[in-house]
Amino acid sequence: MREHFFPDFDWHTVFVQPWTEYGDNSFWIVLMGFLVSGTCGLVGCFVILRRMALVGDAISHSLLPGITIAFLLTNSRDTLPMMLGAIAAGITTVVLIEAIRHSSRIKPDAAIGIVFSSLFAIGIILISVFADKIDLDAECVLYGELGFIPLQDIAMFGGVEIGPEPVIRMAIIAVIAIGLLIAFFKEMLVTSFDPGLAASLGINPTRYQYGLTLFLSVVIVSSFESVGVVLVIAMIIFPGATALLITDRLTKAIWLSILFSLLYAVLGFHLATWLEASIAGGMTVIAGFIFGLVWMAAPKRGLLTKLVKRSFKRKTTSP
């Protein structure tokens, strides 16, 4: 217990101690943070370009009933049933949104709002009704916390300890994401920017749209344990959005978004250590801060950059 909101800043306890005294733990937590935000950011670049940001929000909220029902059916917290439940929920969300849009004059934004809030409500009700049977905490789903991921479960591979199981699982998802990105980069690029051109090239834009939605569900469900369903949206949107303020090239934006994810993980971890706050929250604060910096001072389009350029121009052109 302490008195002040901002504790005294001490370089040693904030930046050195976590690494010297709790080195292993800190390493795995930061790595996990990086894997989560990096994978989310990778998918997020395309999500932003396709204006699906709020669909992502909807999917992340409807995971709650998905994993709850999966849990009730299988009575286990294994990864596979949870994953399947979440993917089913993600697909249901998208299908319901499309159904409302096509069968009535309700606009897509209202359809998104109606669907995700209803599904989320069902999730909360299920959890409260079966509270004695369910070992799931709604608040845990909502917040998630990097500090609480079970690091003691060590994954073994060929008899060798390779690291905590959740981190390894996330790493596998990240590798799959990178693999998919390399395999389908051209198709994703074309369908994101010009669905008409894609269709004329024989690439079915709808198929890639659903593919992205599917993979987005997978990424969200593997991340929510660490960052919670709301902050996963931050991890999806912030890296890509910040990168797209700096560059117009998608490849460059993807590299930049990975760099930003690394910054979020490292700086967020230290911020949270200093304030004794949630690490996911700390990462989001850093993400918002970096976005603000780039927004103001990006090389070409920053607000301040433009201002300085303009005043410089005025000085040189005035007689």
Binding site: M1, R2, E3, F5, I48, R51, M52, A53, L54, G56, D57, H61, I100, S104, R105, I106, K107, D109, A110, I112, G113, I114, S117, S118, F120, A121, I122, I124, I125, S128, V129, A131, A138, E139, L142, G228, V230, L231, A234, I236, I237, F238, A241, L244, L245, L275, E276, A277, S278, A280, G281, M283, T284, V285, A287, G288, F291, W295, R301, L303
Partner: protein, 478 residues
């Protein structure tokens, strides 16, 4: 604003006031049956229930009205953004004097909400990022800051921290009488502001360019609406929780949007639907101890929305299907009548009764299908069977004739068809061999006044482009 709409809106607002003044009387009845519980719940006997019910009613009222403006402006998810963005403000208000002081929290949350909405607008204006990304960033970014602050607060050594978690899922029973007073004031302000500036809000909702051209203070109006919205969101948070406030803003308004095309009716309906969902949610969560209020309010609203989606008289799915089926039936009937007219015409108008087999040849259909068509005609009172009673199966030789109404209707359809063909060739310069298919379709949709105008324009023609007689108007109308 339409006078009735105005009156209803105002009455609804006033209705809440005497309830607020109702004296407290603690009931200690132990309920047994569902109905008794319902009676007990809605009789305003127990103060806690009363506050919860009044609270949810007021919340539904406020959110329904303000949400309508969001829904018609396609800004539905701004409500979601707002409800997440107020979180750091709530935490800040909480820090202010280390307790759950509704006013401090209210001020902090409102400030954060308005800052969030302003940021969304600003990001959209100054970067090439789209609205959805801007909303997502503000939503998640502010929420992240809020999470950081609440986790810190939980570690702080200070007074009463309980109640902060109510902001996430909401519990109507957690509403205090202070909250209710706040809610009542906000509802009243909302109604008064909307009534005073209804025309202005209407114009900026549908045509911002027009509003600017009229010299309206568009920015001020926009932020006034956003401020009201933030008020409503902040006071609703405790009862329904952060995530579900947006449902209260969107769902009742969307249901109302399905039922009416008039803004003032939409406002009234949305307010009523919001209150209804509020009452449903409060009641269901009252039935059992461990049921949260917010989710049931949301499901109540969703049920209303689904009902409107399925059964709404004008835009509902079911009425649409029924209308389409009715129209298809009418068109089939009219096509049969037209075929009978052709039979008549081929006999130089000498015969009145025809064989079912002849009609089948004319319609190019099987005897079985033709039999069904004749039966439909008979059912509609447009034909008579001359051979046997209605129930028996027809042979190809079975005779039937059109009744007077049937004959008139047949003439009308043929007249529509031939006039339209003539109109297309004469006035629209179509080739004579291209007009038939178009007329096949249009003949079923021409109203009497349009036919008269076409007739006048073509100077009361006698023959169609193919040289056939056009049935005369005077001959048709008895």
């Amino acid at each position: 604003m339409n006078r009735t709409g105005k009156q209803i809106l105002f009455t609804l607002a006033l209705l809440a006031l005497p309830i607020l003044a109702h004296a407290a009387k603690i009931g200690d009845i132990s309920e047994t049956s569902w109905t008794e519980q319902a009676i007990d719940f809605f009789s305003f006997q127990q103060p806690i229930i009363r506050t919860a019910l009044i609270g949810t009613l007021l919340i539904g009222f406020c959110c329904g009205i303000l949400g309508s403006f969001l829904v018609v402006r396609k800004l539905s998810l701004l409500g979601d953004t707002l409800s997440h963005a107020v979180l750091p403000g709530v935490a800040m208000g909480f820090l202010w004097n280390a307790s759950k002081d509704p006013w401090a929290i209210f001020v902090g949350a409102t400030a954060a909400g308005i800052l969030g909405v302003a940021l969304v607008g600003w990001i959209k204006q100054t970067t090439h990022l789209k609205e959805d990304s801007a909303m997502g960033m503000v939503l998640a970014g502010f929420y992240g800051v809020g999470i950081c602050m609440t986790t810190v607060i939980q570690n702080l050594a200070m007074g009463n921290k309980s109640g902060l978690d109510k902001f996430f899922f909401g519990q109507a029973a957690a509403l205090s009488s202070g909250d209710i007073r706040l809610l009542g004031i906000i509802s009243l302000i909302t109604v008064v502001v909307i009534l005073l500036f209804y025309k202005e809000f209407l114009v900026i909702s549908f045509d911002i360019g027009f509003a600017q051209a009229l010299g309206m203070p568009v920015k001020i109006l926009h932020y006034a609406l956003m401020a009201l919205l933030t008020f409503a969101v902040v006071v609703s948070l405790q009862a329904v929780g952060v995530v579900l406030v947006s449902a209260l803003l969107i769902t009742p308004a969307a249901a109302a949007f399905l039922l009416t095309d008039r803004m003032h009716w939409m406002l009234v309906l949305a307010a009523v639907f919001g209150m209804l969902s509020g009452a449903i949610g409060a009641f269901v969560s009252y039935l059992s101890n461990n049921l949260p209020t917010g989710p049931f309010i949301v499901l109540g609203a969703t049920s209303i929305f689904l009902l409107a989606l399925l059964f709404g008289p004008r835009h509902g799915l079911l009425p649409k299907i029924l209308r389409r089926r009715k129209q298809r039936k009418r068109i089939a009937l009219e096509n049969t009548l037209k075929a009978v007219f052709h039979l008549n015409e081929n006999s130089q108008f000498t015969k009145r009764a025809f064989e079912a087999g002849k009609l089948a040849t004319e319609r190019n259909a099987s005897l079985h299908e033709t039999e069904a068509e004749i039966r439909n005609l008979v059912k509609a009172g447009m034909a008579l069977r001359l051979d046997t009673a209605n129930g028996t199966k027809m042979s190809g030789k079975a005779q039937f004739e059109l009744t007077k109404p049937g004959w008139y209707r047949a003439c009308e359809i043929v007249r529509n068809h031939r006039l339209w063909e003539l109109y297309l060739t004469n006035a629209a310069q179509y080739q004579t061999d291209h007009v038939h298919d178009d007329a096949e379709d249009t003949e079923h949709h021409l109203g009497e006044d349009i036919v008269l105008r076409i007739e006048a324009r073509l100077k009361n023609p006698i023959h169609d482009p193919h040289g056939k007689l056009i049935p005369n108007r005077d001959a048709i109308k008895p």
